[in-house]
């Protein structure tokens, strides 16, 4: 199999080409994950770029991104595979019409009658001669039982279907799992993964992200924005703004053609940064906008 990345530096460069700025630690973990064939478990505050990383990786490697968005009640029928019942019933009716015996019906449980859901798709994707990158997004939203399904997939890269047998991947897809920690994942899952906690970026890194993603922005403004964001994250809000919010905000400022961060501009675009009434109320109560604007002038 063609190697995904030849070195850690290459991970670095390839991701940068996709406009994803990562640090050396993250690049190392990605390299290890692809070399050791282990899934990568990413945790971090919302909006630090966990999902984004999977997207960038798939583009950098020119692999198809197979995404499994987890939610409460997600079951194996929607995540792994399902039988194509309509096709099966038609087959049964056809058999009836031709007076076929029971033995001929046995074969309605083979791969032709199978609907592939994301996990099975990822395991069988090498057939299309294009390797896959599997993103299991927000695993903490799924029920605990679902994690048990994942164990076999993540450690052996195989799926057992009672009616058929075990289907195994010839080449391991690159797997990225993200979690927002609304609950703790099971240890058994964690043991099979390489863990990485994505911190909020440093000022330098965030500046680089902003200028890479939105090159139209004036450098002075970008620096001011990032400085303010660093300050905001030191404060105790219900939901602190992440990098995703920074980028939204930058886009909004560009659209509105604002090049100064005064109180008025801040007020108009506050919705990009804070999404909860409690935070808004606090900002109003403590008159934070004015003090931020003043701090930015100096």
């Amino acid at each position: 199999m063609k190697k995904a990345f030849r070195s850690i530096d290459e991970v670095f460069r390839a991701l940068k080409k996709q406009k994803y700025i990562c640090d050396r630690r993250l690049a190392t973990v990605i390299y290890l994950a692809s070399e050791m064939g282990k899934p990568l478990l990413l945790e971090g505050e919302p909006g630090v770029g966990k999902t984004e990383l999977a997207k960038a990786l798939s583009k950098a490697l020119d692999r198809r991104l197979i995404r499994l968005q987890c939610y409460e009640g997600l079951d194996s029928n929607t995540a792994v595979y399902e039988w194509n019942y309509t096709k099966q019933i038609l087959r049964i009716k056809l058999a009836e019409a031709h007076q076929e015996g029971l033995d001929d019906l046995k074969n309605i449980f083979n791969e032709d009658y199978l609907i592939r859901r994301p996990l099975l798709e990822a395991i069988r994707s090498e057939a299309d001669d294009k390797h896959a990158c599997l993103l299991i997004d927000e695993l903490d939203r799924a029920d605990e039982e679902f994690e048990a399904f994942l164990l076999e997939v993540l450690s052996e890269f195989q799926i057992t279907i009672p009616e058929i047998g075990t289907l195994k991947a010839k080449t391991r897809p690159l797997v990225v799992i993200t979690s927002n920690r609304t609950r703790e994942l099971h240890d058994a899952i964690k043991r099979r993964c390489l863990y990485h906690w994505i911190h909020y970026p440093s000022l330098e890194k965030e500046y680089e992200i902003v200028t890479t993603k939105v090159p139209q922005i004036a450098e002075g403004l970008a620096l001011k924005i990032c400085t303010l964001m660093q300050q905001l994250r030191q404060m105790d809000f219900y939901k602190r703004p992440g990098v995703a919010e920074t980028l939204d905000w930058v886009h909004a400022l560009l659209l509105l053609n604002r090049d100064r961060l005064d109180t008025e501009t801040l007020e108009e675009t506050l919705g990009c940064l804070f999404k909860y009434q409690e935070d808004m109320e606090r900002i109003e109560r403590e008159n934070l906008l004015v003090s931020w604007a003043e701090a930015l002038q100096t």
């Binding site: 190392t28 009640g73 019942y85 049964i92 703790e184 240890d187």
Partner: protein, 381 residues
Amino acid sequence: MMKSETLSAHRDRSGDFVLNSLYFAKCLKEKGLPVTLGRTLDALRGLMLIQLEEREEAYSLFCAHYVSRPEELAVFDSVFEEFWCLKGLHSTSDSKNHTPQVGMLPFIIPGEAERSDNHAGHQLQKMSYSARETLHKKDFSDMIDQESEDVCQMIMALAQELGLRLGRRWRTRGKGTQVDLRGSIRASLRHGGELLALRKKRRQPKKTRFVVLCDVSGSMDSYSRFLLQFMYGFQRHVPRVETFVFSTRLTRITPHLRMGQIDVAYELISEKVSHWSGGTRIGRSLWEYNKRFGRRYSGPNTVFILLSDGWDQGETALLEKEMKELKSRIKRLMWLNPLLGMPDYRPIDRGMRTALPHVEDFLDCHNLDELKAFGRKLEKV
């Protein structure tokens, strides 16, 4: 075999590095990180893939293998710093900081991690039947040291049992509302593919979540040791539990209770909780809960458990308001009060009187038997 293979493969390239990595793993384990042989072997294999002289790469490699939750990052960072940066080569005899430091916590809870299960059984057997019987009825606040160790172990056993029974609760499935196509087709095969009867299925009911708020103010001191032990066991064995402690302020301790070794858990908690043995402001603490955590943890399937003696120094109006708000968002509110065990106790102090109308179950928790009764009640919720 695997091990020697990996080791020899590294010896050519890095000499002492492999050995040091093993010592490093040992240090992490002593600090309570989930170090296993499998993880260590994987980490050693990973050494081949990085440049050993690059600090960040080595950090990443070990961190990815030995850390699995953000609370462990700080521990890892400090061990990593000490081991690889200051020490250079490491000698095994270094085990100075081995005894856990207990700062704010006014007690040390017996090392749950150190005792194996056999040992626990042994301890229990050692006690005579009547001694155990007495322990069951004895007020937590009257316990002497030796007794309290035994009781802590019994509390852990109780929590484990409770976890098992709560886990089994949702097995029954009645008639469904939706057609189960997969089951129907499967069943039809028996009759040569004729769909004789449709199988039905229904969604599993939403699982119950638990939120525990424990009072650790001064007036609860003689009970908090045991209640905390109970919370540790409860959280460990029952799924979907969130735990908070409060006195004048509120602190979420769920992630800390999850640490594998109880000593480490308490060390972390004592660092985090600065209001231990303070006064009590239940209203304010509930307000803090509702505001900061309510959206995430309160829900129609949440059972809320408050452990407190109800001595409230805060405003009654606030308590009233927050109780109302809390009640509107959850399924059931249970209040455990250790003072209920006293024969002449009446819930007439201000706080208790305000809160009581909103409470569905007002239970005692001053000894083991009462905790057990609480467990039985919980099953029926």
